[in-house]
Amino acid sequence: MFSRDTWREIFTTIRKNKLRTFLSGFTVALGILIFITLYGMGNGLLNTFNEFFGDDATNVLYVFPGRTTIPYKGYKSNRTIEFENSDLTDIEETFPMFVEHISPRIFRTATVTFGEESNDYTTIGVDWGQQFAEKTIIMRGRYINQRDVEEKTRNAVIGRLVEVDLFEGRTSIGKFIDIGGSVFKVVGVFQDDGGDNEERQIYIPYTTRQLIEKNTDKIGQIVIQFKPELGYTGAMALERNLTRFMKEKKFISPDDQNGFFIRNVAEQLKQNQDFAGVLQLIVTIVAFGTIIAGIIGISNIMVYVVKERTKEIGIRKAIGATPLKVISTILLESVFITTVSGFSGMLLGVALLNWIGDRLKDDYFITNPFISIGVAIFATLLLIIFGGIAGYVPARRAARIKPIVALRDE
């Protein structure tokens, strides 16, 4: 069945029937090419998506102050809520099971000067735990540490672009800058994947910020890092309990939605993951649609090919070809063509994806499209197998037709 003669016979047939060979080969190659390209593009889209939303830590709750809208316990509505240092310790003591680290954030815009250069930047008063919440990466020097916070030092960590703006390439570590009238020493430079805005910020100890502002104990926002093992449901439970606790402490009506706000990254993360899941689902459906279209295409061609060869089959049978021989020759031929063209299409598709790389990133949000080699080979084999089945059925029928009937076919 697999003798050299059989193959020679098959190659002769392939060579002499170029249109037929081209049609079936082209269908398979194109099907696989489109499948791989689509699937890879989908993965590229997911890459971009993850890049957008994968920046900040996922086990973080942000608490923002707001204004009340409902009078409660003798307080009028439209009262501004403020957080203070005691809130930090209270939360930490009330939810020890949940909270890993809690830190305040005080946002102030300030004019920052070094030598001749001067610019407005956002300064953020933080404590040492903030670095993990924002996934800030220290390039040189260090972050704000516990000693800075406790001793209210005048140390600052500046963003990469702040250094670029003010120091013009010279090193900034150990230099003194003027932040809104107070002199700070640069102890570190950071970068952040969150984008240019986040690299134009300056971190200082929040206690220092409070000292500058007449030793106030007010803080802007509260950032709570909860234990990652809590998961999504734990985070949601913490959010509920925290809301109840804070409303009670700040005398806010339980029905008031505006006293303060909690941004739960876990919730957003879940939404993002759901969105990415839907994206993945659509990509998969489209890709399998392509494969099914390819299977239907190759099936049609196989039926046509066998139909076209009915007379030839009759001749071969009249001069002594057994049904097995007829079927095996037709099948080997079709499987050979689909295998060669299928894998060519596959390689072409993978090469195309590699070539695309980051070219479509800026305009089409497709980063590094790729397909795992397993999926690519699976799809190719699927097409080959179904091409074989689609060829086998009509080939078997043709081999069963009596030779005289087949010979009458014109």
């Binding site: 029937n17 071969r316 009249a318 002594g320 070809a321 057994t322 049904p323 097995l324 009596k402």
Partner: protein, 234 residues
């Protein structure tokens, strides 16, 4: 060589049944050249197809070289056809994408003969039908007579016991017909058994025996004085 007893065959045409062969009894000895004649619808092609195992009879006995031909599955029939029979068709039935040589070699391929021997033997038979120079031409590059001679070579190459020809001159002009018949007579002279189905009188008279079929029965079976086709060929 061929022995047929009480052969019946009918075709189902919707609800009607068409009784084509109504009890044929018929023997052919080795080396005979027999013409089967009859108008269209007389059952002559059906008889030939059954003899060639391309079709199956409803009842009756058929012995080919002493072997009973019955209950054949497709594989067995294919092997018998390959070993015992050579076919020549009215419409030549060459495979159009294969050269003359490849067409002739095909029965040997299905016998499992090696490639080299296949080509040598096929070339020898092509030479015998006078087409050695045309061996690498496609059927589309050959004339009708040349195509039929390729078909004759293909039928002969496996050295079958019986050669079956169905209206082999039907698609040819009379001059070419006589050339092909001359070839058939030469092959017969070498001792081969040949059955020719035809409705042309002159072709039938170039055989040695004429069997007349009418409405599914043999009405006449006579030996005749053979007319040599070479008389008409320059």
């Amino acid at each position: 060589m061929i022995e047929i007893k009480d052969l019946h065959k009918s075709y189902q045409m919707g609800s009607n049944s068409l009784h084509v062969l109504k009890g044929i009894n018929f023997n052919v000895k080795e080396g005979e050249l027999v013409a089967i004649m009859g108008s269209s619808g007389s059952g002559k092609s059906t008889l030939l197809n059954i003899l060639g195992m391309l079709d199956v009879a409803d009842s009756g006995e058929y012995y080919l070289d002493g072997i009973p031909i019955k209950n054949l599955n497709e594989t067995k029939a294919a092997n018998y056809r390959n070993k015992f029979l050579g076919f020549i068709f009215q419409s030549f039935n060459l495979i159009n994408y294969k050269t003359a040589l490849e067409n002739v070699a095909l029965p040997l391929y299905y016998q499992g003969v090696g490639r080299k021997e296949r080509q040598e033997k096929s070339m020898r038979y092509l030479e015998q039908v006078g087409l050695k120079e045309w061996s690498h031409h496609l059927p589309s590059e050959l004339s009708g007579g040349q195509k039929q001679r390729v078909a004759v070579a293909r039928a002969m190459v496996a050295e079958p016991k019986v050669l079956l020809a169905d209206e082999l001159t039907g698609a040819l002009d009379s001059k070419t017909s006589y050339e092909v018949m001359d070839l058939i007579q030469q092959i017969n002279d070498q001792g081969n058994t040949i059955l020719v189905v035809t409705h042309e009188d002159d072709i039938a008279h170039m055989c040695k025996r004429i069997v007349h079929l009418r409405d599914g029965v043999i009405v006449e079976d006579k030996k005749i004085e053979q007319v040599r086709a070479s008389e008409y060929v320059q």
